[in-house]
């Protein structure tokens, strides 16, 4: 009988020991305990700011502008400040300007110590230009635009490297081919680079300053840049800016929708491929004839979640012409005019301002 009792006790003890293995002990002050590997807790500035519009991994959209007039000079050599009215003009009316836009930014590395993304861009702009008249070479450019449209295709990379809990560096670079080319590649590629150093004082604020080599004003330029992202404590209001390229005040309607009121500066240097070759063959303008397109777009954007990580973006605004002049780049080599350079233009062009709209479907980041 004693043996039975002894064994029963042993049996119960065994089960009790097993049960204790999984017992919780939540009375510990977990905050007072050090890391197991003896290291000090080290945190890094997160690339994200609370409440901002979702980062777009993939965006597919369509952009369209209302009709406007186009006025082009002949292809020649015009000094800065030449009175436009003194130039023999070719005119046309763009009754349709629009096209498909694709942007992709795919994370290659996304860790708290490093974020590296690779991306691709393809923007297609088609024109329907009517009533073309005036000087012959201006007409030829209008006809080339009407026939071929212009496109931008390129790849880009973004590297975000936190230096500490509050500091970070951000580097962006892109290589683009822009022009009226078709499926074939062209030799003239344009490189844009931006480098910034900044601080992230808290989860709702981030700023950085730096320098960029950009085509956003049409021709290549070097300009200082300022990044500023901020969200109010109630997360209803915020600012998203990368000046001078873009800036917006954000109002979060609810978790799944927001409105952004702001602007974007768009631009690129577009090689008119066939026309460049024709002019070079004729000995008239040897080099790459490039339209320096730059435009300012004040706009309102409404974004809302469709389902899961798919968001709809609807944008409406006004497209203000900043530059549509053209340069001939000898041998296709870029030159720097900046805001104060005195190099002559190959064409002095003007296009009217117009309302525009854009719709996008976006696959966004978590």
């Amino acid at each position: 009988m004693k043996n039975y009792l002894l064994l029963a006790c042993l049996w119960v003890f065994t089960l009790t020991v097993q049960a204790q293995v999984t017992d919780d002990d939540d009375d510990i002050d977990y905050g007072a305990v050090e890391l197991a590997d003896g290291s000090m807790s080290k945190t890094f500035a997160n690339s994200r700011i609370l409440g901002t519009s979702p980062q777009r991994f993939v965006s597919v959209g369509w952009d369209v502008q209302a009709p406007y007039d186009m006025t082009f000079s002949p292809i020649g050599s015009f000094a800065e400040g030449t009175a436009f009215n003194d130039v023999d003009q070719a005119t046309g009316r763009a009754t349709y300007t629009g096209g498909f836009r694709l942007n992709a930014n795919i994370p290659v590395i996304s860790r708290n110590t490093l974020v590296w993304q690779m991306g691709a861009t393809y923007w297609d702009t088609r024109y329907n230009i009517t009533n073309i008249a005036g000087n012959a070479s201006g007409q030829s450019v209008l006809n080339a635009l009407n026939q071929n449209g212009i496109r931008t295709g390129g790849i880009n990379t973004t590297i975000y490297k936190p230096l500490s809990e509050y500091q970070f560096v951000l580097v962006q670079a892109s290589v683009d081919m822009s022009g009226d080319y078709g499926l074939g590649l062209q030799s003239e590629v344009r490189t844009s680079v931006a480098a910034m150093w900044g601080k992230r004082p808290n989860d709702r604020k981030q700023w950085a300053v730096g320098l960029s080599r950009t085509y956003r004003v049409g021709a290549m330029n070097y300009i200082p840049i300022w990044l500023y992202n901020w969200t109010a404590p109630n997360r209803k209001w915020g600012i998203e800016a990368l000046l001078p390229a873009r800036g917006a005040v954000r109002y979060n309607i609810d978790r799944n929708s927001m409105i952004l009121a702001g602007f974007e500066l768009e631009g690129q240097s577009y090689r008119l491929n066939t026309l460049s070759e024709t002019l070079a063959a004729a000995g008239l303008a040897p080099g790459s004839l490039e339209i320096r397109r730059g435009e300012l777009r004040p706009r309102l954007e409404y974004m809302r979640q469709l389902t899961g990580y798919f968001w709809l973006g609807v944008q409406a605004g006004y497209r203000l012409n900043f530059s549509y002049d053209a340069d001939v780049l000898p041998g296709g080599k870029e030159f720097f005019r900046g805001f104060f350079g005195d190099q002559n233009f190959a064409m002095l062009n003007s296009i009217g301002n117009a309302p525009y709209a854009q719709i996008t479907i976006n696959f966004v980041s978590p």
Binding site: R111, N112, F363
Partner: protein, 155 residues
């Protein structure tokens, strides 16, 4: 009598032996069990094994109280309104992980209280005291990895 004694003794040893065997097999899987600190350092998460799966709950917050209200922080960003008054401390943010071998746990989800989103998640132990926690949507490419460090609390 002797037979019964021998049977109970055998059962007891068998139970111990089985326990040792299971512990041996699960030692690597249970590496995940413990208290961990995400890279932002503002919370600590205790991971436990329940049945055959692993779950993690917040056990410590650097700032336990809402700075505006002065009351304990709650899950105010949860898409489910009925959950928005639930205290963050004790909230289960890791769910349903199963061990896949090679120091990897998958098939689970991670909840981010900062934005109320729940992501698919895979956990990889890069050493005994470090976890790569990757939250993603759809495919792992579209995700973000955070490095968690073990806190020196006994399991």
């Amino acid at each position: 009598m002797k037979k019964t004694f021998a049977l109970l003794l055998a059962l007891t040893f068998a139970l111990f032996a089985q326990t040792d065997s299971i512990h041996s097999q699960d030692a690597e899987a249970d590496l995940l069990v413990g208290v961990w600190e995400p890279s932002h350092g503002r919370a600590r998460v205790k991971i436990d094994k329940i049945a055959d799966k692993y779950y993690g709950k917040i056990v410590w917050l650097k700032e336990p109280n809402d700075p505006e209200k002065g009351t304990p922080k709650v899950d105010k960003n949860n898409p489910d309104e009925s959950m928005r008054e639930v205290a963050l401390k004790g909230y289960r943010i890791l769910k349903d992980f199963t061990y896949k071998g090679k120091r990897e746990w998958a098939d689970g989800t991670i909840y981010d209280p900062e934005n109320g989103n729940t992501y698919s998640c895979v956990i990889k132990a890069t050493d005994d005291n470090t976890l790569d926690i990757r939250g993603y949507i759809g495919v792992k490419t579209f995700g973000r990895t955070d490095v968690w460090k073990r806190v020196a609390v006994k399991k």
